[in-house]
């Protein structure tokens, strides 16, 4: 019998030779339509396109629907589900012990702005190399829909309860405290989120992204300010974001009058075409001011609010050894006898 040669189609691969399938995760157990699933998809795309080696990535998370999400992308990366609100310090410890890792932290609005706010603000001060994503839906999903601290004043729960306290703006906090790449996006804004995530991978320092991600079960109704409809009606992008990775050729010129180009640490270019004439994402004070104005006007501003590519990250600042502490051989893992003897001599 004659054999017909069959040609299996060669899957498309990225610059490190991996197909997109190798960036996928387990099947989601979140609700159908949950914004978090869309974010997982964008992460997969961005990591694939940036050619990030999955084995180098750790996915620390806290507790909540958001923090379950790392199971649904990048199965070849290492997950660490910490306790509620404590991911920032766990990630800090892990990164100090092994500087070769790439940290992609996933948290939620409860995990970050309520139980974890103390940890969050201190993480922002460090400028640790980490991408810190808040999947922000304004409610606690796993405990059946109570308000979180990012819920807007006056927003309404399904049960009719009105939120009586102002929200914590995690972006304002992050900018004030020292994070060097701060933005807000919307799980439904595929293009913007995709570019922002790719730029995040190229950034050297803390990237804090607050991504509004509607909860279809508990917070997608009339009166909610974190619903799909509300976001579609109120999202005000500050820029049109275009990211050109270092390994791609630049084939489109830009108009310096309307576009700010930021050169990232690795040489990639982040192009922010201004939708507002005066907005400059490298101006910290302006960023905070514009966010405050947005609150006053009831706008949901999105975009890259602030970026600083010059600040040293935490590990550079600490002047650590180039070799990760965790791979030091036993011969150098402890100070030599002579060091301890010298210290002891001072105590005689």
């Amino acid at each position: 019998m004659a054999t017909t040669p069959t040609s299996t189609p060669v899957p498309k691969t990225n610059r490190i030779g991996l197909s997109i399938a190798e960036y996928k995760g387990g099947k989601t157990t979140l609700c159908a339509g949950c914004g978090h699933n869309a974010i997982s998809e964008r992460i997969i795309d961005a990591m694939y396109e940036m050619g990030v080696s999955p084995e180098r990535v750790i996915k620390p998370s806290g507790i909540g629907c958001s923090s379950k999400a790392p199971a649904y992308f990048m199965s070849r990366s290492h997950s660490f589900n910490a306790v509620h609100g404590r991911m920032p310090s766990v990630a800090t410890g892990a990164m100090l012990a092994n500087r070769n890792l790439i940290a992609l932290g996933v948290s939620g609005d409860g995990d970050t702005a309520s139980i974890g706010i103390g940890q969050f603000v201190h993480l922002m001060r460090r400028n640790l190399p980490i991408i810190y994503i808040i999947e922000d839906n304004g409610v606690y999903g796993l405990t059946k829909g109570q308000f979180s601290a990012t819920a807007d004043l006056g927003s309404k729960l399904k049960t009719g309860v009105i939120n009586d306290l102002p929200p914590i703006d995690t972006c304002v906090l992050a900018i004030q405290l020292g994070a060097t790449f701060v933005g807000r996006s919307f799980s439904g804004d595929k293009r913007q989120l995709h570019s922002m995530l790719k730029a995040a991978v190229a950034h050297n320092g803390t990237v804090m992204l607050d991504i509004v991600s509607p909860c279809v079960t508990f917070n997608d109704h009339e009166g909610s300010t974190k619903s799909y409809k509300y976001m579609k009606d109120h999202e005000e992008p500050l820029q049109d974001i275009n990211f050109v990775p270092v390994f791609e050729e630049i084939n489109v010129e830009y108009d310096p009058g309307t576009t700010v180009e930021v050169t990232m640490h690795d040489g990639s270019r982040l192009r922010l075409r201004k939708l507002e004439e005066d907005y400059d994402a490298t101006d910290k004070i302006l960023a905070v001011k514009r966010l405050a104005e947005g609150h006053a006007k009831g706008e949901v501003l999105t975009g890259v609010f602030y970026v600083n590519t010059q600040a040293p990250n935490f590990i550079e600042m600490l002047n650590m050894t180039d070799n990760p502490l965790t791979t030091l051989p036993e011969s150098v893992v402890r100070p030599g006898r002579e060091v301890l003897e010298q210290v002891m001599e001072e105590l005689r």
């Binding site: 379950k68 990366s77 310090s89 766990v90 410890g93 012990a97 502490l325 965790t326 301890l340 210290v343």
Partner: protein, 597 residues
């Protein structure tokens, strides 16, 4: 009885109690004398009352002892508090310009120093301290050269002029004593030994360095802060990443994060900080990530008495974090042991992948002891257990975790631990209950069979830990009239109480517990089976160890000696309580602390 000599220096915080203390300690240790120092102080920057006791002698000095041979009150308040407690043979050196003595017991020598005549007090505010050191050393029969050397070292950073001035003042005090005061009956001897003087906090920090700790973080809290200070001061030299963190929640989680990534990580705190860490300890247990946490106990509950000692955190540790999990708890027996216990603890927690807790207390943490560095062992064995740090010889395909299962069910309960970033060993570490491969079985996939198997796997490690730690041993004569049982820092004072009892015709032996969890309950019962009269001695109100021992072994002793006033036991407290109990008068003694500090 052991021949010792004790100096008490009292004054207000800020009056310079510490410097004379350091100088005496240095001179004693260089004479080859053992010494033990304990500072009773208060949580105040200036003022209040601080009382430093330094006790020295040619044999081991394990505690502050019962009496003061030389009292140096730096103010009237200290004179009033302590003079009456001096007994025959003791002396009190004081500034006659500013301090009036009260009534003294028979045979107590009052040594007034005319400070303004002997030194220019307008130039030197602490002249009285330096004069007293000089006078005291003369009365102890110690050469002036020893003092000159110590002062030169102490002040050399401040320049030649300061050294000359202080040596001059000390000389004046030394010479004044030679002509006016009677020397002590027992001149301090000299030996060939040379000891280092360590606090428990320094010892634990150095023990960590010797164990290969690469990550240390902490939030400052008395009396544990000394560990952080040593770590910060020696971070570069010892190659340790040291961070001060925003709170103890951050501390324990950061340490676990570092440990999870593969380094040995340690942190220290006191009871209040430990309370904040208990959530994190549960995480360490569930993820099977080893971490070592030191609790330097202070008097609680709550803020309690921050500068006073207690053994009151045992049940907090026994119950730290919810759920059942294997843990190791050990309590160092003295300051040298503070060093040794750290590498031992790290080897255990690395082997058994669980949290390890070191239950120290203020008495050891801030007390000081002469230690022969030779006894410590600077290169203890490092056993990291089943740790996978490279992909050598393991699953071929980096794309999957292959056969690797992070939480593989094994007979020992120990599953080989791969650090993040090792190709072929990708896994999820989760605080949720999980399957062998790390996949969560807490939400959609709850499974009673798997949950039971994972619980049993983790708890099986307890058997291994039990086998890895030695049972306690009885010290002293076999057939004693009384057996004293203690744990941790009371070791030295109980030992001395046993000696005093024996001299008084009551033979006594001692069972001191170092490994608290797991507890060798059966071995303890076996040891105590033949004991004639057993008494548990501990520094807390409710008899925390006695209750624990009873719960683990059903053993009930004949009596209890407890102290919870913030100060440590002195030997006579125990001696008198034992005698009281042997007459059958009581089964619970709570000795009063006679010194008002």
């Amino acid at each position: 009885m052991r021949q010792t000599f004790a100096i008490g220096i009292g004054g207000a915080a800020g009056q310079g109690v510490a410097t004379p203390g350091d100088i005496f300690a240095k001179i004693f240790s260089r004479r080859g004398l053992h010494l033990n120092a304990y500072n009773a102080y208060q949580s105040i920057i200036r003022g209040g009352h601080t009382f430093l006791t330094i006790r020295a002698g040619p044999e081991k000095v394990t505690n502050m002892g019962d009496c003061i041979d030389l009292l140096i009150p730096l103010n009237q308040d200290s004179m009033n508090r302590h003079l009456a407690l001096l007994s025959t043979g003791a002396a009190c050196i004081y500034n006659a310009d500013t301090i009036k003595p009260g009534a003294t017991g028979d045979g107590v020598q009052l040594c007034p120093l005319p400070v303004s005549k002997l030194a220019d007090i307008t130039r030197n505010k602490v002249a009285q301290n330096t004069l007293a050191i000089g006078a005291g050393l003369n009365m102890m029969g110690i050469s002036f050269q020893a003092l000159e050397n110590a002062l030169t070292e102490q002040f050399k950073k401040k320049g030649e002029a300061v050294v000359t001035e202080n040596v001059g003042i000390a000389r004046a005090g030394y010479d004044h004593a030679a002509s006016k005061f009677k020397p002590f009956a027992w001149p301090l001897p000299m030996t060939e030994n040379r000891y280092a003087v360590l606090s428990g906090n320094i010892a634990m920090a150095m023990g960590g360095a010797a164990a290969g700790v690469k990550f240390y973080c902490a939030y400052p809290m008395s009396p544990s802060t000394g560990v952080l200070h040593w770590m910060a001061a020696h971070a570069r030299k010892a190659g340790i990443m040291v961070r001060q963190v925003e709170d103890e929640i951050g501390v324990v989680n950061m340490a676990i994060g570092a440990a999870h990534a593969g380094v040995r990580a340690m942190c220290a705190t006191s009871g209040g900080g430990f309370a904040l860490m208990s959530e994190g300890l549960g995480m360490s247990a569930m993820m099977e990530t080893p971490v070592v946490v030191i609790d330097c106990q202070r008097a609680g509950p709550s803020t309690g008495v921050p500068t006073k000692t207690e053994q009151g955190d045992l049940w907090q540790m026994l119950g730290a974090a919810f759920g059942d999990y294997p843990r190791v708890i050990a309590s160092p027996l003295d300051i040298g042991d503070c060093f040794k216990i750290i590498p031992e603890m790290f080897n255990l927690v690395d082997r058994f992948q669980c949290p390890g807790m070191v239950l120290c207390d203020l008495l050891l943490s801030e007390g000081r002891l002469s230690v022969d560095p030779k006894d410590l062992g600077f290169t203890p064995v490092i056993d990291r257990g089943e740790l996978i740090t490279t992909a050598n010889g393991t699953p071929s395909s980096p794309a999957t975790s292959g056969d690797y299962r992070r939480y593989e069910i094994t007979e020992s309960g120990i599953s080989p631990r791969a650090i993040p970033g090792v190709p072929g060993h990708v896994h999820t570490a989760a605080t949720d209950e999980h399957d062998e491969d790390g996949v969560l079985i807490s939400d959609e996939f709850t499974n009673t069979v798997k949950r039971r198997a994972m619980m049993e796997k983790r708890m099986r490690k307890v058997t291994g830990i039990e086998a890895a730690i030695p049972p306690p041993a009885l010290w002293g004569p076999r057939n004693a009239d009384v057996t004293l049982i203690g744990w941790g820092s009371t070791s030295g004072v109980i030992e001395e109480a046993c000696e005093i009892l024996s001299e008084q015709g009551i033979s006594a032996n001692q069972l001191q517990i170092r490994w608290l969890v797991p507890l060798h309950g059966e071995a303890i019962v076996e040891i105590l089976k033949g004991a004639r009269h057993t008494i548990i001695v501990e520094n807390n109100y409710s008899g925390q160890f006695a209750r624990y021992l009873r719960s683990e072994s059903s053993y009930v002793p004949n009596g209890y000696i407890r102290k919870y006033d913030g100060e440590p036991f002195m030997p006579h407290h125990i001696v008198e309580a034992v005698k009281e109990q042997l007459t059958g008068k009581t089964t619970l003694s709570v000795p009063a602390h006679e010194i008002m500090v």
